[in-house]
Each structure stands twice: as structure tokens, then as C-alpha cells.
């Protein structure tokens, strides 16, 4: 009896969570531009989506940014996690970690604004138009807010692993670099991968920081959606979201089927 109560509770919450998404999917197939009245089935909005150059540029920009920023933040963040682990001085260690966590704790709007003011100052200092550093500003901003998440997912793995393995490798004649890449890295790989996935997700979805830092020649998808929701959301944005949800769903299912073989115990989600 109690078990059913839990089930029902979960069902209700999930239903509420999914109703807006389901309506979004339904209305992406709507015949008219209305988002309140379903007039008939059509694929017009998907056709429109694929014919819009603006959407495609934005999609491409978003992907480029997400790939680059997740890679860069993973490299820097993994190295940083190793470095932080090796730090002897407790005070230094603690202060490095708390500075790292600032972008995660800070409201996004403050981070975005501080970045914008910073890059405007940089552009002024270099005597160039903001636009010329626009892409780099965006990339740097994205790497910056992704870094803490990477470090946070790698650091526990390194702590867990301890020193014994890499010490053994060193004793057996590895150079420190070899010891890291051949022994340590493969062992902490799950943490690195989950950090990278998280960074990729965050970058892909970020609106607030991009909104402040963004420049004219580099419009990402969330920015495009924002300028559209100010006007009127046409269901082609619904169509795009439907496609994204579907793609993510497929990816998640595939990756989980794979993971089942390797390690049955892993919890998803953003951990702190």
C-alpha cells in the first residue's frame, strides 16, 4: 500500500514536470502559429526550421562553443585537480578551491556582467573593437564557468585513487608525465568524462552569461531564442526543442546501455 503511495506521488510530479514539454512537442506539429489552439497536424514548422539560415548559424555557433569550451575546461580542470591534490599547504589549497567555486556560487547575472565589463576593458586596452575579440570573450567566459564543475567531478576520483598506483609506476621507471598519462588518467577517466559532459551541457544551455558577454557576430541558440521570445515564439523553436529532446533522449539511452556493461553503479547528475 505504501509502495503505491510513493509510485503515485512520483507519477504526479513527473507528470507536472513533463506537461509543458509534451505540449511543446504537440504544438511543434501544429498547423497554425498558435501555441494555445491545436488546429491540425503538419510538419510545416520543421520545414521552416530547416530553411532558416539564422537558426543554422546559431546552432553551429552553439556547438562550436560547447565543444571547444568543454575540451579546454576539461584539460585545464583535470590538470588543476591533479595540482590541487598535490598541494601540501592546506591554506593555499583551500583558497584555490574557493576562488574556483566563485562562478558556481555567484549568481549568473553577476558573473556575466563582470565578464562583460572586463572584456570591454580589455578591448579598450588593446584598442580593438569588441567584436574582434567577441568570440574569444565568449569562449573564455564559457570555459570559466565550466571549470569548477570539471574540477569538482575529477577531484573526488583523484582523492579516491590515492598515490600508491602512480608511486608504483614511478618505481618501475616511469617519468612523472608517463605515470600520469599511462596510469592515473585511465583510472580517473570516468570523472573526466562526466566533467566534460557536464561542461558541454552547461555551455550548450547557457543564456544569462552569453547574453551579457555576447557580441554581434556570434549569436548562439539561446540568444536567438531570447530575441524571439521577446517578439513571438513561433512553433519552429518548439520544433527545434523537440528535436533536441529527442536527440538527447536517444544519446542518454545509448550511453546507458553501454554503461550497463562496464560499471553498473554510477549516479548521474550535477554533484557538488
Amino acid at each position: 500500500m505504501r509502495k503505491y503511495a510513493w509510485r503515485i506521488y512520483m507519477a504526479i510530479i513527473f507528470a507536472i514536470l513533463y506537461i509543458p514539454i509534451l505540449t511543446l512537442i504537440v504544438f511543434s506539429f501544429n498547423d497554425s502559429a498558435s501555441t494555445a489552439d491545436f488546429t491540425g497536424f503538419s510538419l510545416d514548422w520543421y520545414r521552416e526550421l530547416f530553411s532558416s539560415a539564422e537558426t543554422f548559424t546559431a546552432l553551429r555557433n552553439t556547438l562550436i562553443l560547447a565543444v571547444l569550451s568543454s575540451l579546454i575546461s576539461t584539460v585545464i580542470g583535470t590538470a588543476a585537480a591533479e595540482g590541487i591534490y598535490k598541494m601540501k599547504n592546506k591554506l593555499v589549497r583551500k583558497s584555490v578551491i574557493s576562488v574556483t567555486n566563485i562562478p558556481m556560487m555567484n549568481p549568473e547575472i553577476v558573473t556575466g556582467m563582470s565578464m562583460m565589463l572586463f572584456f570591454v576593458a580589455v578591448a579598450g586596452f588593446l584598442r580593438v573593437e569588441y567584436e574582434t575579440i567577441g568570440f574569444w570573450a565568449m569562449l573564455i567566459a564559457h570555459v570559466t564557468f565550466c571549470l569548477p564543475y570539471v574540477i569538482l567531478s575529477v577531484l573526488p576520483r583523484i582523492n579516491e585513487l590515492g598515490d600508491s598506483l602512480s608511486e608504483a609506476a614511478l618505481d618501475l621507471g616511469c617519468t612523472p608525465l608517463q605515470a600520469f598519462f599511462k596510469v592515473k588518467l585511465p583510472n580517473i577517466m570516468p570523472g573526466v568524462i562526466s566533467g566534460m559532459t557536464m561542461a558541454f551541457t552547461l555551455s550548450l544551455d547557457d543564456f544569462v552569461i552569453s547574453y551579457f558577454v555576447g557580441s554581434s557576430n556570434f549569436q548562439t541558440l539561446p540568444l536567438l531564442i531570447y530575441s524571439m521570445t521577446k517578439k513571438k515564439v513561433t512553433p519552429d523553436m518548439y520544433a527545434l526543442s523537440t528535436l533536441i529532446v529527442f536527440a538527447v533522449f536517444v544519446l542518454l539511452v545509448i550511453s546507458n546501455m553501454k554503461k550497463d556493461k562496464n560499471s553498473p553503479k554510477r549516479h548521474g547528475g550535477r554533484k557538488r
Binding site: A36, T100, P107, S114, L117, L147, T201, V245, N256
Partner: protein
């Protein structure tokens, strides 16, 4: 690999985290011409009602998230391992649709002439909208809960799922009623999950500007809206001052909250 591996990260953090915040500080304490002034801070008195509203709404939304999210996280953690993964995926999937689109679809759904109301109006046979939700503070709270609920559930779930199942049995063997097991064992053990869930929901709730614009109908402003508007009007100094105060408020409350978990951790955390 020594602690030198953290060097690129430290360099990055100083340049792109600390320096931009110093620039915000600079803007907050200067006037348009760039000379020192404390008037921006003094003028903040006018914004007290906005600060108050933002904090109030965020507190209520976070509390609702906790009340809804804790049982959900608990229910997921107590279900079969192979089901757990599916539930977590289901929880994360909505986060992959852009926040702007999700919020917009809530608006389209709940508006006076929206889908829910048109169904209800047919059901009750009236011409008047049955539920007037959009444009009230309740709608904004609903939007916050809807958008940020997964951030509450995931950390709590991670925490609860790590609690040893035997703990429950041990407690009831020692004579605890189920309610007492919950309040004396499970809740205290998951307190770190609760704290990080609360932070992950509270911070974006206080600083949001999109949700209040769409769901609040523009009848009142939250602090995020005010910051955004100041920047659009070119009043950077006052915008920087507001963000500075908001940042300090949030960092202080986070520090206090972390103090609680730390203290708990040192005492062993379990109050039996």
C-alpha cells in the same frame, strides 16, 4: 606531476574570475565620469522593496522545491537500482530543453486564454478564464519551482542513495518508529545533500530575470530584472552596485550555510 599542474588554472582564475569582480567593485564605487563616489551604494535604498520581494519569492520557491523534491529523491533512491537510473534520466531530460523555451511554454499553457484555461472553460461552460495565474507572484514561484526542481532532487538523491540500507534496520531494531528513523537518521544523514540542493535552487531563484518577466506579467520587478534594465539604460555603475550587494548577500548566506554542514561533519552528523 606536481602542484605546478594547477598553475594554468590559477592563472586563469585570477585573470578571469578575480579581475572581473574587481572591475565590478570599481564600477560600483565610481560615477559615470570615473571618479570615486559612494552614491551608487547610497541610492540602493530605493531598491529595498525589490530586494525584499526577490528574496521572499526565492525563499518560498526553494522551500517548495525542498518539500516536493525531498520525497521524490527519497522515493527514487529507495526504488530498484535499474529503475533508479531511468528516473534520474527522466528528471534530467527536461533540463535539456532550453530554460527560455520551457518557461515560455508554461506561459502559453497557463495564460488566461491558454490551453489549461480553454479546457477548463469548456468543462465549466463559462466565458471567463477559470484560473488567473499568469501575472501573479504565484506564477513566478511556480516557474521557479518547475525550472529548478531537478537541481534540488539530484544532490539529495546522491546523498540519500549513499546511506547504508542497514542503517534503517539498525535504527528500527533499536526501537525507533518510522517517523523517528526519518527525522533522527535519514534526514540528518542527507543534510549535506539538502544544503547543496538549497543553494543550487536559491541562488538562481534570487537572481533570475527571465522567469519574472514572462510569468510575472511585468507587474513587478525582481532584482535580476532591475540589473538587466540598468544595463540596458546604460546605467552601469548603479547596475554594478546592485550586483555587488546581491553577490555579497548571497556569499554571506552560503558561508553561513556551509558552516552548518561543516560543524555537522565534524560532530559526526548523526544525532541519535
Amino acid at each position: 606531476m606536481h602542484s605546478i599542474a594547477a598553475a594554468p588554472h590559477i592563472f586563469w582564475a585570477v585573470l578571469f574570475i578575480v579581475l572581473p569582480l574587481l572591475i565590478v567593485l570599481f564600477y560600483a564605487f565610481t560615477d559615470k565620469a570615473g571618479s570615486f563616489s559612494i552614491w551608487n551604494i547610497v541610492a540602493l535604498g530605493d531598491y529595498m522593496p525589490i530586494f525584499l520581494t526577490s528574496i521572499e519569492l526565492a525563499v518560498i520557491a526553494t522551500f517548495i522545491c525542498l518539500v516536493i523534491g525531498y520525497p521524490l529523491a527519497y522515493a527514487i533512491a529507495r526504488s530498484k537500482p535499474e529503475h533508479q537510473k531511468i528516473f534520474i534520466l527522466m528528471l534530467m531530460l527536461p533540463m535539456w530543453t532550453n530554460l527560455l523555451i520551457r518557461t515560455y511554454s508554461i506561459m502559453a499553457l497557463l495564460d488566461d486564454g491558454g490551453f489549461v484555461n480553454s479546457v477548463l472553460m469548456k468543462l465549466f461552460g463559462t466565458d471567463e478564464p477559470v484560473l488567473h495565474i499568469i501575472g501573479t507572484k504565484g506564477a513566478v514561484i511556480f516557474g521557479m519551482v518547475y525550472d529548478f526542481l531537478p537541481y534540488m532532487v539530484l544532490p539529495i538523491y546522491t546523498c540519500v542513495s549513499k546511506i547504508d540500507k542497514h542503517m534503517w534496520e539498525a535504527a528500527s531494531d533499536l526501537g525507533c518508529s518510522p517517523v523517528k528513523v526519518m527525522t533522527k537518521v535519514i534526514l540528518p544523514l542527507s543534510s549535506s545533500g539538502i544544503i547543496s540542493g538549497v543553494t543550487m535552487v536559491l541562488v538562481p531563484c534570487i537572481s533570475t530575470f527571465y522567469i519574472s518577466q514572462k510569468l510575472g506579467g511585468g507587474t513587478f520587478e525582481l532584482i535580476g530584472d532591475t540589473i538587466e534594465r540598468q544595463f540596458l539604460n546604460g546605467a552601469r555603475n548603479i547596475g554594478a552596485a546592485i550586483s555587488l550587494v546581491m553577490m555579497i548577500l548571497i556569499l554571506i548566506s552560503l558561508a553561513i550555510m556551509n558552516k552548518f554542514t561543516d560543524a555537522d561533519g565534524e560532530d559526526g552528523g548523526i544525532i541519535v
